[in-house]
Amino acid sequence: MAPPSPSKQLVLAASSVDAGVAAWDLRTGAEDIRLRPCASRPRALASVAGRFLAAAQAPSAGGNSGPIHFFHWEKPQVAVKSFPADPIRALIADDEGSYLIGGASNGSIFLWEVSSGELLHTWRAHYRAVRCLALYDYLLVSGSEDGSIKVWDLITVLDEQSRLEAQTPYLYSFSQHALPVTDIACFLGAIAVSSSEDRTCKIWSLSEGRMLRSISFPTSIDCVALDPRSHIFYAGGRDGKIYVTAMGVDFSSHDCDESSILGALDDHSKAVTSLASSTDGLLLVSGSEDGNVRVWDTRSQQVTRKFKHSQGPVTNVLIVAPKRVKLPPLQPLRKVCSANGEVNSTTVILPRPENDTPIPGNKTSVFMENFLEKLQKHGCSSMLFDSGLNAQNGAPNQQGAEWRGRYLELQDLFVHEVLDQIPSSRDQ
């Protein structure tokens, strides 16, 4: 009856004031480890394929360095600190955890290889700070404070020759948002949903490179989360409401976009800053400036759990299923690209147990079956052992070797003839 119990899922929450990353068990609600120190701005927390947590730190007042902290799941203190050249506003990792991509407050994007810590490439992406990043396959979608959204093809970005050949460094550039883009979520079918302070969410087709739809909201939207079935998405508003919004359009209604908003989850007293949807779509986690994290049952639209994080505003929530795998020591992320490309000449392969091929344990019986079958076919059982060794298998091989020998001789002969004759015929 009961479905197989999934591995432990944690709700993580970070705040913009230094209150660490709090973790709660999604099912039991029990408080787990608290990772300190961490003070992150929105979208600056990334789980690297469930192996560890990366959190870009907000620069301290007056300071201009925003380090990136790596945390292991078991240890409450920072495992590795990296110091990127510019403070990172938005941080994201790919699904396999091979790369970390950071958007800086000066509009640059940094792309690191996790295994080596190498900065593979950094480029100027936007005029102003990068506020949010999202990945679809290897298309990177970046949203900026200047209201623009750009789509980057990482294969092109990472290759010098391709960069030179490409007409524009980006694949698409969208400028339909009038105010800072606050969050982007991608989904199957190359669909992206972006939210903005201009009180709209826009749906984009990444393959066609155009806007499909724009949905207006009564307030600025700070975050979006997609339902895994992609029929609705949640938009967290500055008014503390989470708007449940239909992805598709109902053609029977010809009103304006308001029809897309199906309802609102209303319990936060202050702006909803971040949302995360569980993989089964049944739970939604929201973090708010009121310092609370709420877990919603999406079917009943009720709050099922409420976690108090701190006095400060919650800026990031994540749902992660920590994978406790043996990790090679984490490498700090480099500040600058290595001068020549040579350093990056090696690439790692991680252990993939699924590639393991087991050794069969029934070799004898298989061997016997084959052998006996062969014996029966040739109909000479007793001969085999009397005449000593392996008459059965030796003979064809000898014959084969003999044929091969002859064939090679013939070919040599032929080659020589060709060799000898061509000049001679010319001479004539």
Binding site: D137, I155, L158, M247, F251, P328, I349, S365, M368, L372
Partner: protein, 868 residues
């Protein structure tokens, strides 16, 4: 059950059967030690009895209250079996030894845990004896190896015996290494046993590491070992680093292999490439200043004086293949720690080999003789094949880590397609495209789009007779002409609005191609004897179709205007040809081991389904024909095609009866257009086969040919138009019932009514028509400015909704006498509106209708003012 003890069994599941059966086997069927030989059939039946009835397991399942008597009886029976088998093993007769060892091996696999734990060490000693004795019979040695392997596998399941097992494993290695030098049969089993030991007890091999390595390397490098066997050896070599379980060990092995291969290539490729290439790769493998790693055994030269002509074929190429196979295995198999791959060197090496096409490098070396070139050209296909496998393994092994090198690999494979003419190589190249597309997703499809589409079109275009085997010249033409056309077309697209004439000029190669399609189709009729051999082999076509399928799956909606219409058209054509061929050429002989026409059919169906499902519009252009094909295919009971067709129909059901809501408010018009998918058949059945670029005379010709060819199937679509008009009316009335398709239909009808205004232009004068055409082909955005009246009308119609819409639409139907004509016309009218209409819809309809438009259009134009 109660009767079981009394001698009568309840049924054949009665556990009492087992001890009895086993006792009977031991008493009556197993020979006494030193006894005569059994016929092989008898041995096989004993083996089968033991395994089928699980006679040795002593396992009493679903019996909570196990009968102690039964357990005792069974135990006694197995004891007797073991005793007899061991007696056989100890016998002096070779045959008995062999039989005993075999059954002992079976016992390892089958017997109960307790028994195994108790007696394994005795058994081990017995078998080890055979392995150590140089004098034992070969057959006994062979079976001892496999029995030993089974013993180790079973032993590995006992965690408490790990220590003992490792010490056993350590003792086995020396004798096994000796056996490697014996003849092939023994060496095969010995290497298998060695692999088992390395895999299960790596720590016990560690002590012998160097010895094991040099033994295997000697074998791999030996020219006396045949290809299949050296593959097994190289797989073992690949396993060897797991003995030390360290990152360095693995990387070192890989680098040493690459160095050996690189050096071998230096000799081989003299004169065929830039001589600095080899050195460059060496620098990547051994950074300047670093000590070079120890060479991978020095045996390469030891083979003595092989004749120079033989050397390359008999020595260099097999060794490279074996070593590269080893690399492939290393890259793709599990290694317990994270390892570093010298990726730059690996890619450079692959590039080095794959781009050698046998032509002489500019600077001709005096040493390069035509003989040398000939020898290399002879072996290049197998070298290429090896390195394509390596590339394949690299992509598989590196997964997401490949990203920084993605672009260079994409360039490599794209360039390689120009060289790959042989079917096997081409097939492998396609498989690499597929792998790249699936592993790196939509981003790659952006880069591979052009290569995939061009090559697939070249391979699948039966009209082009693309001939890749027989001579190079024609194939070059067929391979290049599409790409030229492609480039031109791309260029044209930017300036498409400038002139329609240039557009037509640009697509002229396509015209040639399209006109040849029907001719080729004719070539397939049974009476013609045109060369079937000349065309692209089926295996390549299938690979091309599979690649297209994956491309459509991954990036089907990417930059659609450039390629989708071509590919969609191609796929429906290929699928239909494949089906027809299946009918008319049922008797055609084909080679065993090669794909048959039904494989092609299946591949084309799969690609076709992908084309439908990934279509950016909700109603793909050729959907109706596709569904018809799938329906027919479904009737072929119990074949893969039938299975797939029912799957396809299910998948398409979502497309034909959409359940999800659209993401866009404005539906692409083509979906409305295609609402009457069957209605299109009125003229569509003829025209949609024609290339969008065909001009008038050509289309007529093509249509005729097409009709010839399709004579048998033509009757089915013909009935569709009769059904169609009432359907539209019905649907419109249903419109308020709010499914999306219904609502779309309202739009569709709205457009129909609005359309005549815009249609006026093309029908009244040909001079005006180009802009309409250009706007449609170019992009959707241009439609609105070009057709302002239509746009506003559409809006107004939205407000009016179904009641008003319904009236004019019925009027439309009634104004014309014939029921078929208005339908054709209405679809024609929709075509120019098509905001994302594909080329051939537009052009096909234009050319197809032109003849009848003169009488039908004016009717509508007259009716137009009334409808507003």
């Amino acid at each position: 059950m109660a009767g079981a003890t009394a001698g009568v069994l309840a049924d054949f599941n009665d556990p009492w059967l087992k001890p009895r059966l086993l006792r009977a086997v031991v008493a009556e069927r197993l020979p006494q030690p030193g006894g005569g030989e059994l016929p092989p059939a008898e041995v096989a039946s004993v083996l089968e009895a033991v395994r089928t009835h699980s006679l040795l397991t002593e396992d009493l399942p679903d019996r909570p209250l196990a009968d102690p008597k039964l357990a005792e009886a069974w135990r006694a029976a197995v004891d007797a079996w073991v005793e007899r088998v061991v007696a056989l093993v100890e016998s002096s007769s070779t045959y008995s030894c062999w039989l005993g060892t075999s059954f002992l091996g079976v016992t390892f696999q089958e017997c109960s845990n307790e028994r195994f734990a108790e007696s394994h060490s005795i058994w081990f000693e017995k078998i080890l004896g055979f392995l150590q004795e140089a004098s034992s019979s070969q057959l006994v040695t062979v079976i001892s190896c496999s029995s030993m392997s089974d013993l180790f596998v079973r032993l590995a399941t006992f965690l408490n015996l790990k220590k003992e097992a490792s010490s056993f494993a350590g003792r086995v290695i020396e004798p096994v290494l000796r056996l490697l030098d014996e003849n092939d049969l023994v060496a095969d089993e010995a290497i298998d046993l060695l692999r088992t030991v390395i895999k299960l007890y790596p720590s016990s091999v560690n002590r012998h590491y160097d010895k094991v390595e040099s033994a295997i390397v000697a074998k791999v490098m030996s020219t006396k070992v045949n290809a299949k066997r050296s593959e097994i050896f190289s797989r073992t070599l690949a396993l060897l680093p797991s003995v030390r379980m360290s990152e360095d060990c693995w990387s070192l092995m890989l680098r040493r292999i690459l160095i050996v291969v690189n050096n071998l290539l230096n000799d081989a490729f003299i004169g065929l490439e830039d001589e600095k290439k080899g050195h460059g790769i060496m620098l990547l493998l051994v950074p300047p200043g670093a000590d070079p790693p120890p060479t991978l055994a020095g045996q390469i030269r030891s083979e003595g004086n092989v004749h120079v002509t033989k050397k390359f074929r008999a020595c260099t190429v097999p060794i490279i293949s074996a070593l590269m196979h080893c690399c492939s295995v290393m890259l793709t198999s599990y290694y317990p720690v994270q390892v570093n791959v010298p990726m730059h060197a690996l890619v450079a090496l692959m590039r080095r080999v794959l781009l050698v096409d046998g032509s002489l490098h500019k600077m001709l070396f005096p040493s390069t003789t035509s003989l040398h070139q000939e020898l290399i050209c002879y072996e290049l296909p197998s070298l290429h094949s090896t390195f394509l496998d390596l590339l394949n393994a690299t992509i598989k092994g590196m997964r997401s880590q490949l990203l920084p090198h993605g672009a260079s690999i994409i360039r490599l494979i794209t360039e390689y397609f120009q060289i790959a003419k042989l079917p096997t190589l081409r097939r492998k190249a396609y498989s690499i495209l597929q792998l790249l597309l699936t592993s790196m997703g939509v981003g790659t499809s952006l880069h591979l789009l052009e290569a995939t589409v061009n090559n697939a079109i070249a391979d699948l275009n039966y009209g082009g007779r693309s001939d890749m085997i027989i001579s190079t010249n024609p194939s070059k033409v067929t391979n290049e002409s599409p790409s030229k056309f492609y480039l031109k077309k791309r260029k044209q697209e930017s300036q498409i609005q400038n002139s329609v004439i240039s557009e037509k000029a640009a697509v002229s190669p396509k015209k040639r191609k399209s006109s040849s399609i029907p001719i080729a189709l004719k070539g397939w009729t049974p009476d013609s004897t045109t060369d079937v051999r000349m065309s692209t082999p089926l295996s390549v076509k299938i690979a091309a179709l599979e690649t297209l399928e994956i491309l459509l799956n991954v990036g089907g909606s990417l930059r659609t205007q450039r390629w989708r219409s071509d590919v969609d058209l191609l796929l429906i054509n290929v699928a239909r040809t494949a089906c027809n061929k299946g009918v008319s050429y049922a008797q055609k002989p084909y080679m065993i081991g090669e794909p048959s026409i039904s494989d092609l059919q299946l591949a084309s169906f799969k690609a076709l389904l992908a084309s439908f499902l990934s279509s950016p519009h909700s109603r793909p252009t050729h959907l109706a024909k596709g569904i018809e094909l799938f329906r027919k295919g479904k009737l072929e009971m119990a074949t893969k095609i039938a299975d797939f067709c029912s799957h396809a129909l299910l998948a398409l059901d979502v497309l034909t009866h959409p359940r999800a809501l659209s993401l866009e408010r404005e539906v692409p018009v083509s979906s409305r257009l295609n609402y009457g998918a069957q209605g299109k058949a009125v003229f569509g059945s003829g025209t949609y086969q024609i290339s969008p670029y065909g001009n008038q005379p050509q289309t007529m010709e093509a249509e005729d040919m097409y009709n010839d060819w399709m004579a048998s199937t033509n009757d089915e679509p013909a009935e569709a138009p009769v059904v169609e008009p009432p359907r539209v009316a019905d649907a419109v009335q249903d419109a308020p019932s709010f499914t999306r398709s219904d609502v779309k239909m309202v739009d569709a009808v709205a457009d129909e009514i609005v359309m005549p205004k815009t249609v006026e232009n093309p029908s009244s004068s040909i001079v005006v028509s180009p802009p309409v055409y250009a706007s449609n082909s170019n992009s959707q955005k241009h439609v609105v400015p070009l057709l302002p009246e239509q746009h506003t009308d559409q809006v107004s119609n939205h407000e009016n909704k179904s009641p008003t819409v319904h009236a004019p639409s019925s009027k439309l139907v009634t104004t014309d006498g014939a029921s078929a004509v208005p339908d054709a016309v209405s679809s024609y009218h929709q075509a120019p509106v098509g905001r994302s209409t594909s080329f051939e819809e537009l052009f096909g309809s234009e050319s197809g209708v032109e003849s009848e438009s003169e009488d039908s259009i004016p009717d509508i134009v007259d009716g137009d003012p009334e409808s507003d």
